[in-house]
Symmetry: C2
Subunit: 270 residues, 2 copies
């Protein structure tokens, strides 16, 4: 479709490996009610967190190419794994500004001024060291301890977000972090806010939790203002695409977005 | 590569969504020591069990097309989800005979002559009704109760195959089946044999477990003999391809295959 003549009227494009990024979409909608948002969830190839950086980068470029057709004014990468391993490749391939979730999440953690930050995420995110590096830049001298929590994504997608099983799984992944003395914990995966209750129960009230979805929405607003690209009027519209519509998409999307949505459009981008 | 002049010398091609099919590869190697086996694991797009039949069929055709380059004499679909939803599409598109795991698994369950068969598998497999239909054909009148167990695949891939967490998860999925009075349980997913111990503990000694990997290896041997395509001499070789080599592939493959393997070749088939 033709780009809007006024660049401020263009949409913000958002993509994620699947439904997890809907927590970012919800935060963007709250923070930027006037902006049009176009979301792509790559549900035909989710999850990304177990894949190699090469494959994650290939999939991210596919997604960005599809969203480029909407001539967006900003591309928000609502996936921690992509933000951790593929941001340089996206920036090199695209002319639109790209915003990932890792830098804003690290900055939000640093703002809490703790001395020992825990980071949890997918195997791909943790292995990349991206949060560790970003925290080292914004909070030099802070101690960082990271842990991959592979079962948290399927637990959240199964809807088992309360009760004994998620608490036991959280103990198995997080007891070591708690014992190491963290005072801050970055939820470095867009699925993890759904497991906030069992995570909070296991780490206890002295550990502050950082949700990068809120942080990236703040950063997106600041970026648009700085570039003179914020939309000054009107009510923003949402448009939603997925690469596959599995049986439980509606229920899942509702859990992540916090409200029901109409069925998204299904596209084949491969 | 050029097909072997003697059709008996051609390889058996095997594919799965990832590493789960290595349980089938191991059974084929035991049953058919003289045959060459070519395996493709679509690790860049695993899992299939949560995806729509349309996407599973597209991926299955990609995989079969790649393996067609080896001019195999038989294609074994070592993935229950593909066997359940995409077998007709594969048979229509290919000239090579195709063998899935559902029919042999249902036949093996029927041979035990129980009165009430439970079937567990991915959401895609169970939603398809393929096992229910196959059991209806080979054992008319048998009662069938099916349940999807989505967390079993990530549990097996995380290596949490013993201890309290898998037992609790198994209780949550299987207590209803046990209460309904099943006497036989089909492990309708190639990952589930790794969870055999907690599954057996939860269903108890009166429920007989059926592993479709053994059943499909038997069926493959019978099919080659019937068609005069069995290899009469020599020691078969294995060749292995994956579409992505994630960080833990070696350890995972070893768990599923029961022995270490050399690193597979990585191919981009998308």
């Amino acid at each position: 479709m033709p780009p809007e003549a006024d660049p401020r009227a263009r949409a913000i494009a958002v993509f994620d490996s699947g439904v997890g990024g809907l927590t970012v979409l919800a935060a963007l909608r709250r923070r930027l009610p006037r902006e049009d948002l176009v979301y792509l969830g790559d549900t035909a190839r989710v999850p990304y967190g177990t894949r190699s950086p090469q494959v994650v980068t290939r999939y991210a470029l596919n997604n960005a190419r599809f969203l480029g057709g909407f001539s967006p004014k900003l591309l928000v990468v609502a996936c921690n794994t992509v933000s951790a391993v593929a941001l340089p490749a996206l920036e090199a391939a695209l002319t639109v500004p790209v915003l990932g979730v890792v830098e804003p999440g690290a900055a939000a953690a640093a703002a809490l001024r703790g001395g020992h930050v825990g980071v949890i995420g997918t195997a791909g995110t943790i292995r990349s060291g991206a949060y560790q590096a970003a925290l080292g830049r914004v909070a030099p001298g802070v101690r960082v301890t990271a842990a991959a929590c592979p079962l948290f994504v399927p637990l959240a997608e199964e809807g088992w977000t309360a009760g004994e099983i998620p608490v036991r799984v959280a103990h198995r992944y997080l007891d070591g972090l708690v014992a190491s003395g963290i005072d801050t914990l970055v939820l470095g995966c867009t699925h993890y806010p759904l497991l906030r209750a069992p995570i909070a129960q296991v780490v206890g009230p002295r550990v502050r939790l950082v949700d990068s979805a809120e942080a990236v929405a703040e950063a997106a607003g600041a970026r648009l203002s700085r570039d003179g690209l914020a939309r000054g009027e009107g009510a923003g519209a949402d448009r939603m695409f997925v690469t596959d519509l599995g049986g439980d998409f509606g229920a899942l999307a509702r859990a992540f977005l916090g409200r029901p949505i109409p069925p998204p459009e299904v596209v084949d981008i491969s």
